[in-house]
Amino acid sequence: MKEGLRQSMAWLHTWTGLLLGWLLFAMFATGTAAYFQDEITRWMQPEVTGRPDPVVAAEGAVRFLQTTAPDAKRWFITPPNSRSATTQVFWQPDGDRPRGSRRDTSATLDGQGRKIEARETRGGTFLYRFHFDLHYLPVIWARYLVGIAAMFMLVAILSGVITHKKIFADFFMLRFGKGQRSWLDAHNVTAVLALPFHLMITFTGLVTLATLYMPWGIAANYASPDSFFDTVFAQSEEVERSGKPVPLAPVGAMMRTASAEWHGAGVGFLSVSNPGDATATVSLTRAPEDAIGSRGPQLTLDGTTGRRLDASVSKGAALETESVMIGLHAGRFAEWGLRWLYFLSGVGGTIMVGSGLVLWTVKRRARLPDPERPHFGFRLVERLNVAAIAGLGAGLATYFLANRLLPLRMEARADWEVHSLFIAWAAVLIWALVRPARRVWIEALALAALLFAAVPFVNALTTPRNLFASFAAGDWLFAAFDAVMLLLAAGFGWAARKAARPRSVRAPRRAPQASDTVAAA
């Protein structure tokens, strides 16, 4: 080997990090936001209030389904958890009926089982799905792309530990105003101080879709992937309706039976087969917030008597490991304190990826033959960085603004909220391509800051739940959401101000202060 390990690792780190870095930035940012997906959904449906009881809500959902889809093959009910306010129901129509769109076979209900009269939105769920399904792209392609990005991330983390040899000597080092040195410090500090989180989140992220990325184990042992999933996840077998109508026993009692079996843990999901028939069965799954493992135990009861039929067999070691790994990744078990720790670690990861992308250009700018006229690759990376970092910020803020500003009864409203995110993102990309490089960082970051700062104000103008009202009412969810928007605005604003400082190729002997620059300007 001609070059040393560190050089080859540096090469690997640079290029694996860059090639899918923009996608990784978006995955980290939206994934971090998704730790608060239920809270974001609540903010995006300000009409919905209250803290419904899951058992009452499930009974209400059954009443709704009995009138809406009495002869469905299956009902699926997700009652509210401790953070959400609504019940999601979905039903599989009888086989003879033509399959409509998902909109015709699903509904969002309130705590009493009434259809919710609130603005149409995909809420935090969209950010969660985008994090691994992306958008405007067939899901399967998106998941392969995301998987490759995650694999690159894993390589970048491991090679990064070897490359940045001074990370442990520079453990607490963050020096401002020193050009490349500062970017390296920021990259190191956000990476190393949450290294266990970054490794865990990247590896377990791959595990969530492992059967997609590595299907060979299943292919070698099962007739089809479906038979594997049926075996592992205990889908109860489809039974023909007997045609003898027997009313469904109260699901509230069934949920209490299940909770007692699981030492008090709640029910997170119910599936009812052949409702209203003598052959009805009800499968209950433990709520994901009540243990780290994401695939909780299941209990199947007779739908007409509530008698216990079957309980899921305990999982083998491999499945149990998978369940815990996915649980660790999604953090559904985390109560609010740990949830904030997850969120802050995610913010650290987002900054790590972002600072790494910027570092690529900062490092090369000093070495350019003519810094005024950089080569094509450099210009491309520089502009894509602006679009990925500031553009996504502007897009997310626009998504929240669109939620408040689009007409409430608009056709396809939820879709247009999502479109507005990407319109804003694309606008910043185009802006980044046409503007002079020196100006574009400042302008795009300032735009993102302004848009985030606008969110609490637009919220105050369009809903009665403004920041002061939220504080007065002790509504910490709304208050915290507005506060985080203002903090993001401050962060982007600070970054814009930093970008506005005259750029020095060589670091000055001692860091000039931000206040000095303002005084000098």
Binding site: A169, F171, F172, M173, L174, L193, I292, A511
Partner: protein, 100 residues
Amino acid sequence: MIHFLAITLALCGFALLAISMPRHQANMAGRKLAPVVTRRARVGGYTLLLLVLVLDGFAFGAGYGAVAWFGHLSIGAWSVVAWLCIGVWRADAASTKSES
């Protein structure tokens, strides 16, 4: 409350580890510390971090506590970084004032 306590302890632990590193001693203590003090700070720092693990384990149980521990360590360490930055800013501001 447990989170607050755990983060504070982790912050103290990392602060001790930082002060055990020669490059931070000038900033934090104003002078280079004797080797024996440095070693005590290092041992004390690691002990505190372990103590946070024990605290988290008792407060949240083994699995949940271990996850929380990593979170507490990250926030504690970032707090030390922020603290050091503020220290450097202050020192710079003071020296700028005295120069002018």
